[in-house]
């Protein structure tokens, strides 16, 4: 008995490459949800143990060094994702500068 399920040859969205991109997109959406679910469960458990207050977490406004850290991370993420189709080359110096970014 076969134990391998093959993908159908015919694309659902008119072009195989478009199906591939949608598969990646949907896979990422699933991963995003799994992470959000985990964070919500984590918050709930920490609040039950009186480690964090979920309302305080929502109302918290990052200041100072924490605000700068978040800004750096956010910009790096935007550059990586939005810049992906536009990056034509990469070099050691540019990559090395990313060492401090999580």
């Amino acid at each position: 008995m076969s134990r391998t399920v093959e993908r159908p040859a015919r694309p659902y969205l008119g072009q195989m490459e478009l199906d591939d991109v949608m598969r990646m997109n949907t896979e990422l959406l699933a991963e995003l949800w799994i992470l959000r679910d985990r964070v919500t469960v984590l918050e709930h458990m920490l609040e039950e143990k009186k480690v964090v207050d979920r309302k305080a977490l929502s109302d918290f406004v990052p200041q100072g060094e924490l605000a700068k850290e978040l800004e750096r991370e956010r910009s790096a993420l935007v550059n990586r994702v939005a810049g992906a189709p536009h990056a034509k080359s990469y070099d050691f110096e540019t990559l090395a500068k990313q060492a401090e970014i999580g």
């Binding site: 076969s2 134990r3 391998t4 399920v5 159908p8 659902y12 949608m22 949800w33 799994i34």
Partner: protein, 362 residues
Amino acid sequence: MITLKQRGRAGLQFLGSLQHYSSSVLRDQAEADFAAQPEAANLAEEFNSDVGPSVWRERLGRAREVVERSKAYRYNRFYQRWVGEQNYIRAIPATEARRAEWQSLVAAKAPKDHSRLQLDPNLEMPSWYDGVEWHLEPGGWDGYDLTQPMFMAGIGPHVFALGGYAAVDVDCNIREQRARVVEQFRKRDMKRIYEPGCGGATTLGVCRQQFPDAELIGGDLSPALLRGGHFISEMLGLDITFRQEDCTKVAERDNSVDGVISYALHHEMPPAVTEKTLREMFRILTPGGEMVINDPPPFRAVNPLQAVVLDWDTDNRAEPYFSAAASINLAKMMREIGFVDVEEYALEKRGYPWVTRGRKPS
């Protein structure tokens, strides 16, 4: 009950939500897009008449061209296929993560009485059945030893329970549907009920609720599904006998059962096998006995878009006989075999559950 770890649970719940969105928002838009097409009214009228399989292929081809103009429909189908694959891609690792717990449970609750499980290691699997990856499950019904917990703790509650796949409409209650189908027996004084292709204990479990004193017997080709059904039946005290056998040649004597219930079986076999099965069920029914069938509706009973959706399952969700089954007329077949008082009707919208029932003459 053993639950899944967070990653497995959340991943499967995501599939349920995506399938629900696809089957409601996108499906509704696809219906509206189809209705706006100039060919829609003529196609709808054409689809009302009963024709042979080759004419259905031609009709469905024309309808599909019109339906696929809708972007919502194309995305709906993309998500349906993706969820269909991901059910197993996510549920198998999630179940494996709990293998030790499941095995301990099975060992602790293992049935003591095996007299109600009759497996036949020498049974030859029919060629139409062997090697099919039913519903995109790798290895088919017998490919994974933890199939039952995978459905009970994973795909069942997190994905299937929301509906919106194959003939099952979104937001329907699949448990209630099963009970309503069993209620379609006009005969209520049953002594013995047989289910061909029973799989597990789900439908016969409902029969136990509605016919507490009847002897219940289920036959199936799959030893894995029969073992699972036996495990549940013994644990819940349902007192069901499970027998591995081909439903075209069952061990029951002539005129020996009052009722036959067939649930979502015939779309998983070629029409010629369905005919042999119906003849076999006619043989074992007592005079005055009744057969109730639930299966996806035939193409003639649904609108062209729903027919295209049902036809899609054949090539896209490992249902090799779905289109052939939807092209035949079960009620007519039953009458030709000798059943009387044959009726067919839908219990809910979009034609499912589709009930066909008939009696053996007294």
